[in-house]
Point group: C2
Chain length 714, copies 2
């Protein structure tokens, strides 16, 4: 790729970005789009008054949203959006800092060195230069200029580690601050116990109660045994749908049809009044539900949410092995009530463990074999094949423009479609692993997605060849530096244009929210707007953190190979900073708080990127006939890993659980301030399965406290 | 090696063993040797009356000791010798079970198959057969007989895993039983806190007290701050020596010399009375010690032993992170008071961590480079070199017998000498790692020694070549099975004779205790016998477990390659069972109880042996042109590792700490039975540094409770 081609691509994508931003700044001011661009504002009741009056300002693009997005301080974000949002923002800040430094070193030191590598070239004719002139491959073998690269690698590593250390320190302290300043949460007082041993004469509930009364007598408060509620949930869904229909019929929105037949699809049978018909159906369902609920007592799962009087009490139960058999009385911190992933509870210790292993195998197979179906489908979907399958398209396909578009875009479109199904697959795999909460599933999916992206977007592009060849490369660790050093620099121009196209365009489509916008438009067009079905979208941490980290990996590995990538990355991160702040403030709302548990992923990914860079450097200096530099680089990955281990000990422990000091202080502060009994009353019912604890759709029948499932308050 | 040569070697070694046993059974009956063969009996006061009367029976070899060694049940061993001794015995029982099964399969199935591998050979001429005729290399390439080996590997693995599982189950339950039946021990109630933050205005002691009063108000009992006592200890050693001398002078054992000169080496200066002289010296030393002790307050180390009222209280402090900074307020279970390794306390978190890294590097370097000095010294110590160095020996060295002995035995002698210094080096390395107790040091040294033995006795023999070559082999994981499959079977005869010579002879020298016997004899000869200096030797778990595990590894890897090794191994383990039981009952006494913490090492070593066997099998089936069998073996190591992970989760957690259930039950039982205040009074002073808490040798001056070091009782 030559420089002018790159600049053209940059120009086109910059233009696209500006177009999107302009459209966004206009569209967001239209009152009809507030559900697309400001669902969070609506939820908080902060959306501006919907004046339908025409106003010239509404049609002019303005940049006020950028200012508003940058306004809130970190403290505001922490208190309003939670710790996860802060971590997300800090990841971007960290990336901006790292790549600001990298850009300065790369553009002002490494780039000139690379460019003048072979000889003193003249500067005219610059646009026609290949991008390789700016990369390390332009430097002569054995040249002493490579020592500049060597020093740059050492300095860059030190700076990244220092920044990472600062960020760790900052986030750790913020996490503790957030804990101290937050109100008492049920999950802080609660522990999930699984693997409750089955005692022949006692019910699960009795076993749990006697165990915790015996061994945690001073802190035990209450417990809720978990029940198998799949069937009940199916009934509830039916009831929910019927209830909605009934409301609509009564309110008259589908009043055209006052009576219907009660047979198959409402087409046969005798005519009945619609309202009567639905009410009868609903009553029958409610009877079914009551029956199911009464049967549930027999479907107890050997797991329970046990609540304690203090946070410290819950921490004690979590951190110390409870029963003599380590596979029984397993305790783990309870997730937030709205975060519980209910379907997991059928699994015992061994089954959860086996499903973990199975998921791991499936994941590895998916990563390695993913490319095969993609290539197969791409191979099938060529022009001739299409002509054979759909002969009637022949005349259209013969038009030159159409055929060019199809040959040019179809494979890439298929690739993109295949990429789009990956995050759901990862979520599915993670949910099969037996995690008890949505947040754990999302975190695990994030790790999987990151590994998948690094393998299939980085290594698959760098090491062209069969999937088996790539696996083989990693089975011979001694050869890895050499192979990578030969392959990675060759893909520099591909990844530069990847940053510009995929990265920049991804961001502008993120802010533009094309799919929800069209959906909103279509809904309005068909008059199906329904305020009650309006939902604030959850923050897509999983995908977004993965893509930010992947771009960070690209920047780190190409930092000394091809510094031209750095300014484009810096632009990406700066844009990302503005856009994601805007989205977090206006669009998304977290459904649950993970307490900053995405940060360790960021740490590990950064360390991996650095080590990968070092490995490539070792290989490059070897290939460039500077064996001394190659040997002197070897301590660097070792030092980096040691730094990582140190950070893990020094900081990451704080991201797993809270120390005694915090727990006891907070408990004492609560004891002074808060009306405890009121909170305890809430705590006792917080972990009822939504399927059993209440039926929102049943009119008049209170299932608030079914006798068989009454939690045992202590 | 041919069969007759092997049988000769077996005959010689069997003869040697019987000679040793006969001598042992006679010598142990001599009253003068009771300090050699029954120090434990003396300690317990169970040694038979020392009748010096001559008795014919005393000169006849009898096998009564074997019966007596086999008499005690597992329960007796557990209650009298402790859990560690039981674990040690059970390792031997486990090995005997495994290799009984292996011997049956190997001798009656695999051996005939191997022998008739190439063709139906006649059975005469058996003695002249090479040992290779009995190994897998005798089977034709691609022969279907290899499927018998394949099945044997699967069955053997399953049997070993089953036996391991049973042993896990048995030992876990015994560990809990032992805990329930034991008396209250100070270390169960105590936690070692290190990394106490330095608060400018408070002393360490005040900081510790305020922290634990604040956060463990209900269970905190007392604490003892650790002091830097290196110099004090040196003074104490001097005082101890002087004190002993004084006692001897007073009692008249060196009464020949009533007065001495007080100058250099007692040769110059004015004549003084010896008793006066020593008493004055001792007084001066005592003054020094008091001065030091008063200065100690300024030498507080930021670490303390904190005692709690209940075991559960101590477990809570151990298992939950205490301070906000995870590198401060580090807690770990306290070792037994007599087990504390005092010199460690100068180290902070970071220093302990760095010394860990340094020790790891030193250990790896030692393992890999160990062979180099050995080979160098062996090269230097040849006949010509000796003649050059010691010309006066020339005439002796020219005698044929002498030269043969030297060329034959000198290299092997040097190798053995080098091997003998390895365990002390490993102990030294481990003690530099910052462990707080002797038992942890010994456990860590055991792991190091095992790794060292496997590398330098197994891989160094199998993969002949430079040290770098061996390292290289393991850097290309794909080639490992092929390389091992080619190299391991070739060394079968070497390892068979290794078992017979090193294994059997090692055991008989263990029971014969040659060095202590000679030492005892010499001491008697020179009349230096001193009953007060008599010490029961500590159980050498580290070396003995390592050698048992190494023989287990040999047996497992050669099980299907060369089953001829199995009966010899079985004999080794049976002999070992009798001998070690005898030694544990009569000779050794454990200084501290690790609570069976050696068992996880046995587990890991067994799993490693199995996986190593599988890897070799994969390579062998590949080399023998049976690729299907090779591929079908691949799941086996994976299944074995999964089994190992399962066991770790299911059982090994129990070897780390005790569960809440046990702790609370035991606490409650104590509360019912025991006179608590008496025990608490003992507990408060249990963890005083021996250097400060009392001076046994200072007469009349009570240093029992120096004011500055008074523990703060809560």
């Amino acid at each position: 790729m030559i420089l002018s081609a790159l600049l053209t691509s940059v120009g086109i994508n910059l233009g696209l970005c500006f177009l999107f931003f302009t459209l966004y700044s206009i569209l967001r001011k239209q009152p009809g789009n507030v559900t697309v661009y400001g669902p969070r504002l609506i939820q908080d009741g902060r959306s501006q008054e919907e004046t339908n009056a025409f106003n010239l300002e509404r049609l002019l693009p303005t940049a006020g949203w950028v200012r508003r997005a940058l306004e809130p301080t970190n403290e505001d974000i922490l208190s309003n959006l939670g710790l996860d949002a802060l971590v997300f923002i800090r990841v971007l800040v960290f990336s901006i800092r790292v790549f600001s430094f990298a850009s300065v070193v790369g553009i002002f030191i490494l780039l000139p060195v690379n460019y003048m590598g072979t000889e003193f070239e003249e500067f005219f004719d610059l646009p026609k230069k290949s991008l390789d002139s700016f990369s390390i491959s332009n430097v002569n073998d054995g040249s002493n200029k490579l020592w500049i690269h060597f020093s740059a690698i050492y300095i860059f590593t030190a700076v990244v580690c220092y920044l990472l250390y600062c960020e760790h320190k900052y986030l750790s302290s913020k996490r503790i601050d957030h804990f101290y300043s937050s109100k008492p949460q049920p999950h802080e007082f609660t522990v999930l116990v699984s693997g409750v041993p089955v005692v022949p004469e006692n019910s699960i509930s009795e076993t749990v109660e006697s165990f915790f009364r015996e061994y945690h007598s001073s802190t035990y408060l209450s417990h809720v045994v978990v029940h198998r509620t799949d069937k009940l949930k199916a009934l509830m869904n039916d009831a929910e749908k019927l209830c909605k229909k009934l409301t609509r019929v009564k309110s008259g929105s589908i009043s055209r049809q006052k009576s219907m037949r009660d047979g198959f699809l409402g087409m046969f049978g005798k005519k009945v009044d619609v309202v009567d018909h639905y009410e009868k159906k609903l009553e029958k369902l409610e009877d079914d539900m009551r029956l199911k609920q009464s049967l549930l007592a027999g479907e107890e799962v050997p797991a329970a949410f046990v609540s304690f009087r203090t946070r410290h009490g819950a921490a004690i139960a979590t951190n110390i092995q409870q029963g003599i058999d380590p596979t029984q009385w397993l305790t783990e911190p309870a997730p937030e009530p709205q975060d519980v992933h209910w379907p997991f509870f059928t699994a015992s210790f061994v089954r959860r463990w086996i499903s973990n292993v199975v998921v791991f195998v499936a994941f590895v197979a998916l990563i390695i074999l993913y490319v095969i179906p993609v290539v197969l489908v791409q191979g099938l979907a060529n022009l001739h094949q299409l002509e054979t399958w759909f002969p009637f398209l022949k005349s259209i396909l013969n038009i030159k423009v159409v055929s060019q578009v199809i040959t040019g875009y179809l494979p890439s479109l298929i690739y993109q479609l295949f990429l789009m199904i990956v995050p759901p697959i990862m979520l599915l795999l993670s949910s099969m692993q037996g995690y008890i909460s949505h947040s754990q599933i999302e975190k695990s999916a994030c790790i999987k997605l990151l590994v998948f992206t690094i393998w299939n977007s980085f290594f698959a592009n760098v090491l062209s060849g069969s999937a088996l060849y790539r696996v083989n490369v990693f089975l011979e660790p001694k050869n890895i530096p050499r192979v990578l050093a030969a392959a990675v620099p060759a893909q520099a121009s591909f990844f530069i244009s990847y940053v510009v196209t995929s990265g920049w365009t991804g961001l502008s489509s993120e802010i533009f929210r094309l799919v929800p916008l069209i959906w909103n438009f279509v809904m309005k067009l068909f008059g199906k707007e329904d305020d009650k079905e309006f939902e604030v979208p959850p923050t897509p941490f999983c995908q977004e953190i993965t893509s930010i980290l992947f771009f960070g990996l690209l920047g780190t590995t190409y930092f000394f190979l091809s510094p031209l990538i750095l300014p484009f990355l810096l632009v990406y991160f700066c844009l990302g900073y503005v856009i994601y702040r805007n989205q977090l403030l206006n669009v998304y709302a977290a459904k649950y708080e993970t307490g900053g548990k995405f940060w360790p992923i960021v740490h590990n990914s950064t360390i991996f990127s650095l080590v990968l860079m070092h490995v490539i450097a070792i290989g490059i200096f070897g290939l460039k006939e500077l064996p001394l530099a190659s040997s002197l680089t070897i301590p660097l990955p070792i030092l980096t890993v040691l730094f990582s281990i140190y950070c893990q000990r020094r900081f990451l422990a704080n991201f797993k659980s809270y120390p005694t000091e915090c727990l006891v202080n907070k408990d004492k502060a609560d004891a002074r301030e808060q009306n405890k009994s009121e909170f305890y009353a809430k705590l006792v019912v917080a972990y009822r399965d939504p399927a059993v604890s209440a039926s929102r759709y049943a009119r008049g029948i209170s299932l608030e406290d079914p006798p068989l499932l009454r939690s045992n308050q202590g």
